[in-house]
């Protein structure tokens, strides 16, 4: 298994090189020069040219890329072109809200999907199944900016129960932190509850009809135990596969959610940096997001073996 892990981690390196290379060429090729955005749209050409030279943007693209890679490998992600702030610091400052938002949302989505998917599968064809399935379809199709604004109007403006946005660090005040995170987490997780619950429902339905479940029932094991220990556990593999894939998309949702709820997260940093052609920041954020997604998928792969003893990586 260790050999498998090492091989997977090693595979991350070329993946990151490919992704950052693609991002680098896309940004420079399609979006072009950041100097006008740094100097303002009424910049004079001489100053722009001087700045371009100073930032090394007048060198060939491959030289610029290799320069970035060699610095990155030495742990130097450079400074933001617009704020002069070290990139690592910019990311560190915004990591907490995004980490909390994505982890809580994924957790809530997985927990919600377990309950709803099981209900829909066990009582397949009932009113409960219909209700769960309808909720899931609505959840998947509802754009999350719309859901976010609606939740703000209901819970912040009308009922005045929760704040509209902002961020309080859990390290300063956990209670206040959880209060501000309720609406963003709900907004981000609803779509994923929908997808995951529908996947679990179909997978669980197949499992519930499997001979080994019938055998378990015939042995007189309580239905609840049959469901939890035998059926659900074995139905989790497709759910986890989808979860791993969806984790990448979760960052996309996090960008929108962070904007609506004014959370100072990495998603907003990324969008802002793309619009501002802040190449060093974009490169570093994309590279770390790629690492995050690959790491989660590695965990998902490893969990297969834990869930299903027939799976082995040796």
């Amino acid at each position: 298994m260790w050999r498998y892990i090492v091989a997977r981690v090693a595979a991350v390196v070329p993946m990151i090189v490919l992704v950052t290379m693609a991002v680098f060429w896309l940004l420079h090729g399609l979006l072009g020069d950041p100097t006008l955005l740094i100097l303002g749209r009424d910049a004079d050409p001489q100053t722009a040219q001087r700045l371009r030279h100073e930032l090394g943007l007048d060198r060939p693209l491959d030289v610029q890329y290799l320069d970035w890679v060699s610095h990155a490998f030495r742990g130097d992600l450079g400074r933001s072109l617009r704020t002069h702030e070290p990139v690592a610091q910019a990311m560190r400052e915004r990591a907490l809200p995004t980490a909390e938002l994505t982890i809580l949302s994924m957790g809530l989505a997985a927990a919600g999907a377990l309950v709803l998917g099981s209900v829909a599968a066990v009582w397949y064809g009932s009113l409960a199944d219909f209700g769960v399935s309808s909720f899931c379809v609505v959840g998947v199709t509802l754009p999350n900016f719309l859901l976010g604004i609606t939740l703000i109007l209901v819970f912040a403006l009308t009922l005045r129960w929760l704040p509209s946005g902002g961020f309080v660090s859990p390290l300063n005040n956990l209670g206040a932190n959880l209060r501000v995170m309720i609406l963003p987490v709900l907004t981000l997780s609803v779509a994923y509850v929908g997808i995951l619950a529908l996947v679990l429902k179909s997978s669980l339905r197949a499992t519930l009809g499997a001979p080994y479940v019938q055998t378990a029932r015939a042995k007189g094991i309580a239905e609840r135990r049959v469901l939890v220990r035998h059926a659900v556990r074995n139905s989790l593999i497709p759910l986890l596969s989808v979860l791993g894939i969806e984790f990448g998309r979760l960052f996309g949702g996090a960008v929108v959610t962070e904007t609506v709820f004014a959370l100072p997260g990495v998603g907003r940093l990324l969008v802002d940096s793309i619009l501002g052609r802040d190449f060093p920041v974009v490169q570093a954020v994309v590279a770390s997001m790629t690492c995050g997604v690959l790491f989660v998928n590695l965990l998902v792969d490893l969990s297969y073996a834990w869930l299903d003893p027939r799976v082995s990586y040796d």
Partner: protein, 538 residues
């Protein structure tokens, strides 16, 4: 209509700027309501004003501002983003300041003298001014700031604003700064009401280096406390402030809330005290919400219009440009796109600034004249062209309305949506020809008119070149005589309207939704909100 707006607006602004209490529009309304309809009472207005004068500013409280976007730097020498300036006006003083009609008023410079040849300007500074770090803000400090901008090696975006006319600066006494000009330049002081005029602490600049933008030190009413990127910037009152009128507020927190609908909601829930750039759809609701008011500037100093390359076909045809100018129903834009919250624009100067020309005549909506001009231009059977716009909801809405209007004169538009941050670059690179555009006024007429219309200027993106306009622009900035300048800029205004390198469409109103507790808010035509002199009613 525009004149009426102007009167109402100037009344509104005179009322709340500067900080001395005067009669506000609300006071006047209250007075006339209380006094019934008798006209005779009008002559007593001045006396009554004293009786009805609003209470003096109440000290205390933190003003919670909903900021549209995060700041990227608080170093004014490297600032280009609009979103940074509201914070900088709290932390720093400018050398001189602008009033709501873009008159120049003293700030760090308390008076100035212009030499007879117009080439030397001597500015006397306020005495005993200290930076927040305790160092002295004297003539040497001001000189250090200007030298920093003028030093090419620093690549300051502010360089382009000073270099064309400023050859050097000297500190001839502790509070006397002498500016040497390359040529007489009437827009000199106005340039120092903006970013080149913010004076930072040289000692702090040397201490923090590249990180100064995260550790700003100025002489302003408020001193920097903290900045959590994408979340908030907070400042607190600086008790050592040099000015006679100190800040009433204990502090200001600028919370970044990018979504306009959420900012509006937060003002309604009381989570924010004030914000700007509301979602236009929310304004009616905000005005009706308890505890909320909306302070507007209409017209604003920000215009929207279209531009094209006048040196490239098909728009190198003046009759064609004028035909399209006649084919635009500006009233419909204001009504449909702005919901009535704006004014039509016939030229580049709104009625709120001193160089506005009452005589300049723009194009009114006249489809018959438009068709006639199209025929004269050689397009009897109509004309098709691509129109590029930023792919934002408002950019697209603008393009669609224009498309529908011009269809009526047989001009067919194909809309080309472009990423907002790319649009201007594509214009400069001449990848697109006919586009939507918008600009905000500078504190001096030479500011915007020169960069847009002078032959070959770096921001002249239309290829416009008219020797008469160039000559007038040179005349306009080389005399310090206000009346002479006003008449010169009126001629320029009329000429560029007729030549139509741009066709002006409207000035959207600037709106600031706020809690009714927020007092003394006033717009300046550069559309940058200043919060430092506000106070909160208990």
């Amino acid at each position: 209509m525009r004149d009426r707006n102007r009167q109402v607006d100037s009344l509104n602004r005179t009322a709340s700027f500067p900080r001395r209490r005067r009669i506000t529009r609300r006071d006047l309304l209250r007075m006339s309501a209380g006094a019934g309809l008798g006209l005779a009472l009008a002559r007593d207005a001045a006396t009554r004003a004293t009786a009805f004068a609003a209470p003096p500013p109440q000290p205390g409280g933190i003003l919670r501002v909903g900021a549209v976007a995060d700041t990227h730097t608080l170093d004014p020498h490297f600032s280009v983003d609009w979103s940074e300036r509201p914070v900088m006006y709290a932390i720093y003083n400018t050398l001189v300041s602008a009033t709501p009609t873009f008159e120049i008023a003293p700030e760090l410079g308390r008076s100035w003298k212009i030499s007879a040849d117009g080439l030397t300007i001597t500015v006397s500074l306020q005495p005993n001014v200290k930076f927040h770090d305790g160092t002295v803000c004297d003539a040497e400090a001001v000189k250090w700031n200007i030298d920093f901008i003028l030093d090419k090696a620093n690549n300051s975006p502010q360089f382009k604003q000073l270099d064309p006319f400023l050859s050097g600066v000297e500190a001839s006494g502790p509070t006397t700064v002498v500016f040497r000009l390359k040529k007489p330049y009437a827009g000199f002081l106005a340039a120092f009401t903006e970013r080149p005029g913010f004076i930072v602490s040289p000692a702090a600049y040397q201490k923090y280096g590249k990180d100064f933008g995260r550790n700003p030190v100025g002489t302003g009413m408020f001193q920097f406390v903290e900045w959590l990127p994408d979340d908030h910037v907070s400042v607190k009152r600086f008790d050592g402030y040099w000015g006679r009128s100190k800040a009433s507020l204990d502090g200001i927190t600028y919370r970044v809330v990018p979504d306009p609908a959420v900012r509006d909601t937060m003002v309604r829930t009381g989570e924010l005290d004030i914000t700007s750039e509301p979602d236009p759809k929310d304004i009616a609701v905000l005005q009706k919400s308890p505890g909320v008011k909306v302070v507007s500037e209409n017209p604003s100093g920000h215009w929207w219009g279209v531009q094209w390359r006048v040196d490239r076909p098909p728009f190198n045809n003046k009759a064609l440009r004028q035909a399209i100018a006649y084919g635009i129903d500006r009233g419909e834009f204001v009504k449909v796109m702005l919901g009535g919250r704006g004014s039509i624009a016939n030229g580049p100067t709104p009625s709120i600034v001193w160089w506005y020309s009452r005589t300049a005549k723009g194009f009114s909506y006249d489809p018959d004249r438009a068709k006639q001009l199209l025929a004269e231009a050689g397009y009897q059977n109509g004309f098709s062209a691509q129109f590029s716009t930023d792919n934002t909801p408002v950019g697209l809405q603008f393009a669609q309305l224009l498309q529908a209007q011009l269809k009526r004169i047989n001009v067919t538009l194909t809309i080309n949506p472009v990423d907002p941050s790319n649009l201007y670059q594509e214009v400069l690179q001449q990848k697109v020809n006919w586009t939507r555009t918008d600009w905000t006024l500078r504190a001096d007429p030479d500011g915007l008119l020169r960069i847009l219309f002078y032959t070959g200027n770096y921001a002249n993106s239309t290829g416009y070149s008219n020797p008469t306009v160039d000559k007038l622009l040179d005349q306009g900035n080389s005399t310090y005589d206000r009346n002479a300048r006003k008449s010169i800029y009126a001629q320029i205004e009329q000429q560029v309207i007729d030549d139509a390198p741009y066709v002006w469409v409207f000035y959207p109103s600037e709106d600031a939704p706020m809690r009714t507790t927020v007092q003394e808010y006033a717009w300046i035509p550069d559309s940058v909100p200043r919060y430092r002199s506000l106070w909160l009613a208990k």
